[in-house]
């Protein structure tokens, strides 16, 4: 039998560890169609069966508010996996079981993998898994995902559930008022077998991406169609009781999309208002959603009590002790800067420089080999120039920075996996709030340290429209990973021994400009009120070396592929445009080339910034395609073969002040075309899109100019 298993659980419950442990490296990684969230699936064998394990996003509940939650509930309701494997953190039972109940409400067979049992025992807490299983109505298997313990009974439970499913109906155990309201709504929908009597059409219907109206608000449509486009025909409708629960909660998505008659809607409205009236008799002002949530938590209490769960009086954990320092009112930000500084010191200091030197030697050797081969073959001048000054110079100029890029990502992975990045978001939230900005926006902005495009799309998670737009407008100020080769090149040429400090200053400047522009926008175009921000600080954990290394390897492969494709093609194009005149004659003087003529037009614009030569303007243009292309462009335009020769050429064509001004411009001007396209899609407004471009170009120009002009008064 082929079976599909959906893996669901809270973030930080060990889901990824379990997924990797079950499937090894046999994974397919892609995207959930139409959205930003990564989709992983892999196959493995359980007995004679072949199981496809689909990793659903980590969620705390199945509300309609975020794309991750919509993906999870949509997949389970519509694709009806054979088993839902719910990983539960045993050290956080109440919170994790909330999702468990909601998963069970979708009426698919559930297996609960109770993870971190060893930590639970270390705390002196106990739970009877067999009784928990009986109370929940689903098998509960204690495991340790990290140590790969408990997998045999887990597989057995999955196999049994797949072949002899016993879906539970937790709503049957909710308190009477909730059960009565549900019964009334189910009757209004047409009964338990009412799938054909109502049609939750908009919510779950396949919609072709290309059919969407360009002006249609993508954010609203993502909520409206349940979060994303699905890939195929959908055979199943969601369970009636689940729909009834969602209508009782006041789920806006379901309310809008369920195709019901006026009479049905009236009956449902009455049932909900009677339910609320009953609840308000005890708790004045309560709403239906809170009542349903409360019903679930009461059920969780009953279940845990019956399962003999004993919780010890909470001691201060190691994570709490570390947080007392790391999130301290006055120490937090200096510690954050110190951590970032250390990261840059190692990346751009002796370690990074040594590794870059090795790569440079390799590229140089390849260049020498190619040169000798071409000379031996009596190659025409243009071919020699194309290969050495175009391809090897251009691609090699970017490749040498691979070690430093990987070092940065190594540190960021460690910071993320250890739990420190959440603290960084928390610390920055405190700072941002002083300036009227939302900390909720900082999480996508933090992603901007890796990639601006990712960060812009992640802004979909910001529910407040105003905050979302501001996040998209401001995120590009966070220096993305693709700019690192440019920083590496210039800091090596002009600021040896102080590279880390200079790079840190650029990151800090980016954040400062983000705050300044944010404050200005807050007082002008985006004046509305504040939005609350809730986030979890997971306990500190030692990063899993294997997953960190695997991710690094994936990045290295991607980088090499990117270098071999778009960077290669760009280098050849740049070589062509600086080697041939507009009449396609071979030129030896680059100023007469296509690029030279083009650059001559734009060069004067940059004169007040200290880099008014055509090569620099053209390099900035190439940065629109990929920021690393600035390095390969300069390498090709200055006709140098190696990174060290480029460093020498840069030193001859810039001063330290104009170099810093150039770096600031690179930092602040528009991101790559992929990010611009993402911004246009996400903003769904030409006005705000143009505003983004104007803000970024304007800020880059003004700040660069100020730095150069004011700096010129003091430095010659």
């Amino acid at each position: 039998m082929n079976m599909t298993i959906a893996l669901a659980g809270n973030p930080n419950s060990g889901k990824t560890t379990l997924f990797n442990a079950l499937t090894g490296s046999n994974q397919y990684v892609g995207n959930w169609p139409g959205v930003t969230v990564e989709r992983k699936e892999a196959k493995f064998e359980i007995g004679d069966d072949l199981a496809t394990l689909v990793d659903l996003p980590g969620v705390y509940s199945l509300s309609p508010y975020s794309i991750e939650e919509n993906i999870t509930r949509h997949f389970i309701a519509q694709h009806q996996p054979d088993v839902v494997l719910n990983i539960v953190d045993a050290t956080n039972l109440e919170r994790n079981l909330y999702l468990t109940l909601q998963l069970m409400e979708l009426e698919r067979p559930v297996v609960v993998a109770l993870n971190l049992m060893d930590e639970l025992q270390r705390r002196g807490e106990t739970i009877d898994c067999a009784r928990l299983s009986k109370e929940l109505g689903a098998p509960v298997v204690p495991i340790s995902a990290k140590k790969k313990q408990g997998f045999d009974p887990l597989f057995q439970a999955i196999y049994d559930q797949a072949h002899n499913p016993t879906p539970a109906h937790p709503a049957r155990f909710y308190e009477p008022s909730t059960r009565d309201a549900l019964r009334e709504i189910v009757e209004a929908l047409g009964g338990f077998t009412a799938h054909s009597a109502f049609d939750v059409d908009e919510h779950f219907t396949h919609r072709d991406e290309n059919e969407r109206d360009d002006d249609h608000n993508a954010h609203a449509s993502h909520r409206h169609i349940g979060g994303y486009d699905d890939e195929g025909d959908l055979d199943y409708a969601p369970p009636t009781t689940w729909v009834a629960l969602k209508l009782l909660e006041g789920d806006e998505l379901l309310k809008e999309s369920a195709q019901l008659s006026d009479a049905q809607r009236a009956r449902i409205r009455k049932s909900v208002s009677d339910y609320v009236a009953r609840g308000q008799a005890e708790h004045p002002g309560i709403d239906s959603l809170t009542l349903v949530v409360d019903a679930r938590y009461r059920r969780i209490d009953q279940v845990l009590k019956a399962a003999g769960f004993h919780r010890r009086e909470r001691e201060i954990s190691t994570s709490d002790k570390i947080d007392r320092i790391v999130t301290h009112r006055y120490l937090a930000f200096p510690i954050f800067l110190a951590v970032m500084g250390l990261m840059f010191a190692i990346t751009f200091g002796p370690v990074g420089t040594f590794l870059t030197g090795l790569t440079e030697s390799l590229v140089g050797w390849i260049g020498d080999l190619a040169g000798a081969g071409l000379a031996a073959a009596s190659a025409p001048e243009w071919v020699t120039s194309l290969v050495l000054d175009g391809v090897i110079a251009g691609v090699g100029g970017v490749l040498v920075f691979l070690p430093q890029i990987l070092l940065i990502f190594l540190f960021m992975s460690i910071l993320e996996d250890s739990g420190y990045m959440s603290r960084a978001a928390f610390i920055t939230d405190r700072l941002l709030r002083k300036f009227g900005l939302s900390g909720r926006s900082f999480i996508p902005m933090l992603m901007g340290f890796g990639c601006t495009t990712t960060a812009i799309v992640a802004a979909r998670g910001v529910e407040n429209e105003r905050d979302r737009r501001m996040t998209i407008l401001l995120t590009p100020f966070m220096s993305c990973g693709a700019r690192l080769p440019v920083y590496g090149l210039f800091t090596a040429a002009f600021f040896p021994g102080r590279q880390a400090l200079v790079v840190l200053s650029l990151y800090a400047l980016g954040m400062l400009m983000m705050i300044v522009c944010g404050v200005i926008l807050r007082k002008t175009a985006f004046r509305e009120g504040d939005s609350p921000f809730l986030m979890e600080l997971p306990p500190y954990r030692l990063p899993h070396l294997k997953s960190v290394l695997r991710r690094l390897w994936d990045r290295a492969k991607d980088f090499l592929t990117r270098a071999g494709t778009i960077i290669f093609a760009m280098s050849v194009l740049i070589w062509f445009m600086q080697s041939f005149s507009p009449t396609l004659q071979w030129v030896t003087d680059s100023a007469q080339s296509i690029f030279g003529r083009l650059g001559a037009f734009i060069a004067p614009v940059f004169a007040p910034l200290g880099f008014g030569q055509w090569e620099k303007g053209v390099a900035l243009l190439s940065g629109l395609v990929a920021k690393e292309a600035v390095v390969s462009t300069l390498q090709v335009l200055y006709s140098v073969g190696s990174a060290s020769e480029l460093t020498t050429a840069i030193a001859a064509h810039f001063t330290p002040l104009s170099a810093y001004s150039f770096l600031v411009f690179i930092l602040l001007y528009v991101p790559c075309v992929a990010a611009l396209a993402a911004a246009r899609r996400e903003l769904h407004s030409t006005k705000y899109f143009l505003m983004t471009i104007c803000i970024q170009l304007g800020t880059a120009y003004v700040v660069s100019m100020l730095i150069y002009q004011i700096g010129s008064l003091f430095i010659r």
Partner: protein, 58 residues
């Protein structure tokens, strides 16, 4: 002769890459721009049928 052929091949390959990437970029409204991007690893805005990563992995 061989060297000239190599030169022509490089130019042709670069042109093909640029044209295909540009075409894909326009068709996917920019989503394919993140193909093989090591910085975004894992997401780039949704790629229904148009992302190089999905195509490469399928």
């Amino acid at each position: 002769m061989i060297a000239t052929l190599i030169g022509v091949a490089i130019l042709t390959l670069a042109a093909v890459i640029l044209i295909r990437r540009a075409g894909r970029f326009i068709r996917t409204r920019g989503r394919s721009g993140c193909a093989n991007c090591p910085y975004s690893r894992g997401c780039c805005g949704g790629c229904s049928g148009g992302c190089d990563r999905d195509i490469a992995n399928s």
